[in-house]
Amino acid sequence: MRTLTTLAAVVALTLGAFQAVAEDIVTLTTGEKIEGQIVREVDGNIWVVVSYGAIERERFVAAVDISSIERDAISTEAAAAAKDEQKAPKDTAPRPGVPRGAVISLEGTVGMEFNAFMLEELIPVLEEDLGSDGSGIVVFKIRSGGGALLEIQKLSDMIEYEYKPRFQVVAWIDSAISAAAMTAHAIEEIYFMPHGNYGACTGWSGNLQAVSGLSYVQVLIDMEKISERGGYDHTIMKAMQGHPDENHFGGAWPLSYTIDENGDVTWFQDADTGEVVLNEPGDVLTLTSEQALAARFSKGTARNLDELAELMKYDEIEWIGEPVEDRVYPVSRAEQQMIRFRERTSEDQRRLGEYFANYNILKQAAAGANEESRGKLVGRARSHLGSIKSVMRTNPNLILFQLNLPTEQDYRYWLEDEEEELREIAARN
């Protein structure tokens, strides 16, 4: 989790709309179409950056080979994808009395591989496939080691105000640690997989430094509100967050509970009062599936979708999507989008350092190069800057988390400065 030092700025951060794939389309005299981004033009000759999945390659096209150029067009692939997304699911109309469900995997780092704006992107497709009358079921299958503290409120709001009014929302816990558990905490219906674990929500940064002071108190209060959304006692999340002061019960919020004859659970923020102790002084709570079930925190433990449906008290749920190797659930169109986004983000994060290093090397090389080489080197530098831009377009959260720029406007200023610098270098005599 990140520090809250830029919390105020980031709260004001407006994540840019996920830009659709508007690209340039170059038609050659041979009839071949090249879709990509034109990064340089000299005397009608062009350099185009073309994407192949997560890989980008620069391609030179001579003026004599060009038949036409369409700028900022929607690519044919995107058009086809958009057209696909217009289609109703292969399976026909819903069967009476049988709700439809879709599993959406929330995996990776909170704020990176999944975030609020990506969840928002999925809603239209989910509505098409599940209906919007509230009978559709969205299962968030969560497997995440946590991530950005700053993203939790956005995700929680997205779930509370956009998903719950449209669908029955359920969390199915594979592993929800830290920010991932805090995200799921807004969901009333939580089920665990047998090996599931949930908790360890201590905020920290750097060299294992705990979030403390005002920031810590702010998070405690925020999580009280989110606990209410899910219908969970405040004491539970506190036990998962721990306390930055080691003098406070050994840096902990102890936790115990008692279940009465009616099956009602009463929680206590100590290790003495309740019949069952879940968190001792000095510890930070991570629930196992057994503990979650016994404490009535989870609604049950399900190994697969059949068991999940049974626990949800449905005779049958029509799970939308196609069976895919190595996945225990059918992959719906929305889930396909999520998977693509996640894979792209992971690759981008892995290579962003490389893009920056190459960009800076080329910029420096161009600045010191002779006239013959300078143009080419500037062109290549632009290509790597284009890769950086592409990464930020795919996941605007990286503007803050990787570039350390608090707003999108700061990012645009940075880009303008870089492009201006490249123009100056290219123009030198």
Partner: protein
């Protein structure tokens, strides 16, 4: 870290401290008895008479491959059938496309549904009998015997016991669709080149995360197989990062010298770095994930605590032949100590206890304790012993899989890589020549090759074998290589411009 007091929980069907294999053992005996004289080619009436042969409660599917599958049909769509295959007392789900099916006979009505659509075909077995001599029974494999696939997970952890060879081996297992998969876990566990390893070697707990990708294959990936075999974890040495992996099997069998543990360093992780609460968070999440693996397999998660935490005290009592675990030290006759608080100086294991393997700061599960605690089904020194413990020694067929070949091939590749990389690095650093273009081109070629090693071998290249560092440690990482390639291309570009008139 003290663990919260455990109360009696609702029985979730976990094996916990009970003998996990009693039901399995009985079922295997039953299976062996009923399968004494299996036919090699099923006679025409076999399908119908399956109902008469004591399997009246089972549905039967005949496949075009000749296999006969018995169990409980879970669901049927126009294109697929899902069935819970039952062999003795073991069941495992599988899914078949109807294009593979000759007939389906449900136990309820014994009505046979043929997929041929050809009402003139009186005997569906005609579709799968070999042409010509249809009485040649010996030509057809006996699919009524349970099939067993032996797979080694052996060698240096991280390098040889690694995701890449495991993935390839499991691909082969998946294709073979055996009834049983016996995973032989035997990690190379040594303190020195010529010194056997002791239970409490200083192994970082985060070896567990190195094993995570492999654990995922058992825990997650295999759940979606069309036919998931019954997984038997045969424990010879499951120490360090691989200590929890046996919990992911359906059955555990120990070698007489078998050991499971060596991961008791969680409390020492992070030392005094940072704030206490953050260190506790890190320990808590790791322990939570490790406990989850035990719960998945139906084992008591307190075993994980005992294996992982030096401060944890665990004992057991014999409750009518079943070991009942409890926290704390024995206070009554008949109660036995498993682990005591090793953070208290007078309790701390001595070096001699560590070498003898009699220490109790943390739990190392051995053959005897595995039996007493009901963790293992039995003890097996050889593959035949494993089959005997499973009750199928006299009635089984071993699948001729490629796992051994894959594992050996992987080890050979790593050996060649260990010799090749240092030499290639030296050659890379000594590239010279009169033609600068050629020199730069050679550099790029070497760099592309190094990049290829990263793609193919990943992290396994970083782990050592035989106390030598992994060859990957000498290579630049992949992003660094990409930057070096770009620099070389810049040089080429500038060279082109220099030579142009």
């Amino acid at each position: 870290m003290r663990i919260p007091t455990r109360r009696r929980l609702q029985n979730l069907g976990f094996r916990s401290a009970r003998r996990p294999g009693a039901a399995l053992a009985a079922a295997m005996v039953a299976f062996a008895v009923t399968a004494v004289a299996p036919p090699t080619v099923l006679p025409t009436t076999h399908v119908a008479s399956a109902q008469d042969a004591g399997d009246a409660s089972l549905d039967v599917i005949v496949l075009k491959s000749g296999r006969v599958v018995r169990g409980k049909i879970l669901s049927e769509t126009p294109t697929n059938v899902r069935i819970n295959i039952i062999i003795g007392g073991i069941s495992a789900p599988a899914e078949y496309s109807k294009t593979e099916i000759v007939s389906i006979t449900r136990a309820a009505d014994a009505q046979t549904e043929s997929d041929t659509g050809d009402s003139a075909t009186a005997d569906p077995m005609d579709l799968i009998r070999p042409r010509g001599n249809q009485t040649d029974d010996t030509a057809v494999e006996d699919f009524s015997k349970p099939s067993v696939y032996f797979m080694p997970l052996t060698g240096a952890f991280g390098a040889e016991i690694a995701p890449q060879p495991l993935e390839r081996m499991l691909d082969d297992v998946r294709r073979a669709e055996p009834d049983f998969l016996v995973v032989e876990i035997d990690r190379d566990w040594r303190l020195g080149m010529f010194t056997e390893g002791i239970d409490q070697q200083a192994v970082s707990f985060d070896e567990f995360f190195t094993a995570e990708q492999m654990n995922d294959m058992f825990l997650r990936d295999m759940q979606n197989w069309r036919k998931r075999p019954h997984i038997v974890m045969w424990v010879k040495n499951a120490m360090g990062g691989i200590a929890y992996t046996p919990f992911l099997g359906d059955t555990i069998i120990f070698h007489p010298d078998g050991r499971m543990g060596g991961i008791g360093t969680l409390e020492e992780m992070f030392g005094g770095t940072g704030d206490h609460v953050v260190r506790q968070k890190q320990r808590s999440l790791r322990l939570g994930q490790a406990r989850g693996l035990a719960i998945w397999g139906g084992y008591d998660p307190r075993l994980v605590d005992a294996m992982t935490l030096r401060s944890y005290e665990l004992s057991y009592r014999d409750d009518g032949g079943v070991a009942e675990l409890f926290e704390g030290t024995p206070s009554n006759p008949g109660e036995l100590l498993l682990t005591e608080d090793g953070t208290i100086t007078q309790n701390s294991d001595t070096l001699e206890q560590a070498v003898r393997g009699t220490g109790n700061d943390v739990l190392t599960i051995r053959e005897e304790s595995a039996k007493r605690l009901g963790i293992s089904l039995g003890t097996a020194e050889t593959q035949d012993d494993v089959l005997d413990v499973l009750g199928i020694l006299r009635n089984h067929r071993v699948v001729d899989g490629r796992a051994d070949e894959i594992m050996q091939s992987w080890k050979d590749e790593l050996t060649r890589l260990s010799r090749r990389i240092p030499k290639e690095l030296e050659d890379f650093q000594n590239i010279e020549g009169d033609n600068p273009r050629r020199v730069i081109g050679q550099r790029i070629r070497f760099l592309e090759k190094f990049k290829g090693y990263h793609k193919r071998y990943g992290q396994s290249m970083m782990f050592g074998r035989d106390f030598r560092p992994g060859p990957g440690n000498f290579l630049p990482n992949e992003p660094q290589i990409n930057v070096m390639i770009e620099q070389a291309r810049i040089e080429l570009m500038q060279l082109d411009d220099c030579v142009r008139p």
